[in-house]
Amino acid sequence: MNLLEVRNLRVWDGRGGSVLVSDSSFQLKKGSCLAIIGESGSGKSLTCRAIMRLNGRGLLQSGEIRFKGVDLNELDEREMRSRRGKQLYMILQNGMRAFDPSSVIGVHLRETLARHYRWNKNETTEKLRQAMQSVRLQDPIGILNKYPHQLSGGMLQRVMIALALLLEPDVILADEPTTALDTVSKFEVVEQFIQLRERTGCSMIFVSHELGVVRKLADEVMVMRAGSVIESGTAAAIFSNARHDYTRYLTSSQRKLNDRFQELMGGAGIADR
């Protein structure tokens, strides 16, 4: 069953008229993870933000975004807002910009939770504490009292995942969540994404150009280039026998790096899992 169906999505610049995403159509099955890959400027993030209807006023969009039988494009801002967070949840690349820099993390999290639940202060704190511990953040209460700039990128990413655990959204849209992270935090965040799916059974759209991470998480992959979808299929099919030259080009550069690394590691040994 398709949870989210996008038909002929088009995003264009309202002033210049240039088309940024043209005629893209895709579906997200319930419980599955769809990865969108492509180079910068290919329209991956725009597509994500178009689903959330978060593109700025200068950008216009048309087409159909059917979520649980309702076309999101038809909703007014108030109805859309009630769906954001609770039903459609977005995780951004830059944690530092995703949180309000002028207040501590806790204020932001409580405010979001208060919009969707009627928990009292102690309940909220207790739930937050549990959620943050489950994404392996030590000292949750300390973190709630810190400003975004006091935490590392990987920690902020995990705070966002903890909030997702509490909101239990139907669809999570993650826009390059691991790109800015180093090896160790990337590994930890990817682990948390896998567990997030197991725990909440949510569907996921995962935007990334890191194919290693995509291969670990995605069930299906969609390749975008210059604003249009050029190929989509199961992850196995895209990585092993892609039909399109461009897809092969994208995966080959990754493979080249990987091959050298595997060769150095002797194909096995401690890198073997």
Partner: protein, 250 residues
């Protein structure tokens, strides 16, 4: 090959808190290693491990609290000693080139002190652009007209222009797309062979370090955990380095 860089017992702290705070945060502790001419040495570590600080010390932009860094026997802190011996490419390409400069002006900038005539210098710019895979139509372009990969190529051309034997690359490819990363890595390999360059390749991406480098230095909270030949990468000794390799997502 002679030693190009000799680093001995380097310590670095930064003041923590405000201007008048006495508290100091230790960034680097007892760093010693040698770097041979023409070698490609990877410096890898997590964020906050002190990689970039070490890079700035090696470039002479900042001074160590204790210890010495010698560049061909001369202290790297002396401006004259550094000239023409080490150059750099940084991660943030949006701020690496003066936005009022065209590509040509940007590459000419480090050449102003060289005695060649203007014609010769312009020829050189053309040659360098070709070598980094850009045609001469890029000469008159401004940085905002270029993509990230193209700007990084211009920065590499600018670094090569000084003909220094060593280029320090501080996360120079980390903000580029996977496929563009590969193109730049290939370019660096080519340049290494044709100019007999050496690199100090600072990165958190072990895979790209493994692709380019002869040796890697693993930093952990300001200390050298291990220096290992790339061919011996699978036999790293310290538990931390082993953990780091285990956590690679390939």
């Amino acid at each position: 090959m002679p030693e190009l860089l000799t680093v001995e017992g380097v310590y670095k702290t930064y003041r923590k808190g405000g201007m008048f705070s006495r508290e100091r945060q230790q960034i680097l502790r007892d760093i010693s290693f040698e770097y041979k001419e023409g070698e490609c040495l990877g410096i890898i570590g997590e964020s906050g491990s002190g990689k970039s600080t070490l890079g700035r010390l090696l470039l002479g932009i900042e001074k160590p609290d204790r210890g010495t860094i010698l560049l061909q026997g001369e202290s790297v802190e002396k401006r004259g000693g550094r000239r023409g011996r080490i150059s750099a490419v940084f991660q943030d390409y949006t701020s690496s080139i003066n936005p009022y400069f065209t590509v040509e002006q940007a590459i000419l900038e480090p050449l102003t002190l060289q005695p060649d005539g203007m014609e010769a210098k312009r020829d050189k710019v053309g040659r360098l652009l070709r070598q980094v895979g850009l045609d001469s139509s890029f000469r008159s372009k401004y940085p905002h007209e270029l993509s990230g990969g193209q700007i990084q190529r211009v920065c590499i051309a600018r670094a090569v222009a000084t003909e220094s034997p060593c280029i320090l690359l501080d996360e120079a490819i980390s903000s580029l797309d996977g496929s563009v990363q590969m193109q730049v890595l290939e370019l660096l390999k080519e340049l290494k062979d044709s100019f007999r360059l050496g690199y100090l390749f600072i990165t958190h991406d072990i895979q790209s370090a493994a692709y380019l480098c002869d040796r890697v230095l693993i930093l952990r909270s300001g200390q050298i955990e291990e220096i290992v030949d790339i061919k011996e990468l699978k036999n790293v000794q310290s538990p931390y380095a082993q953990k780091l390799l285990r956590m690679m997502i390939t």
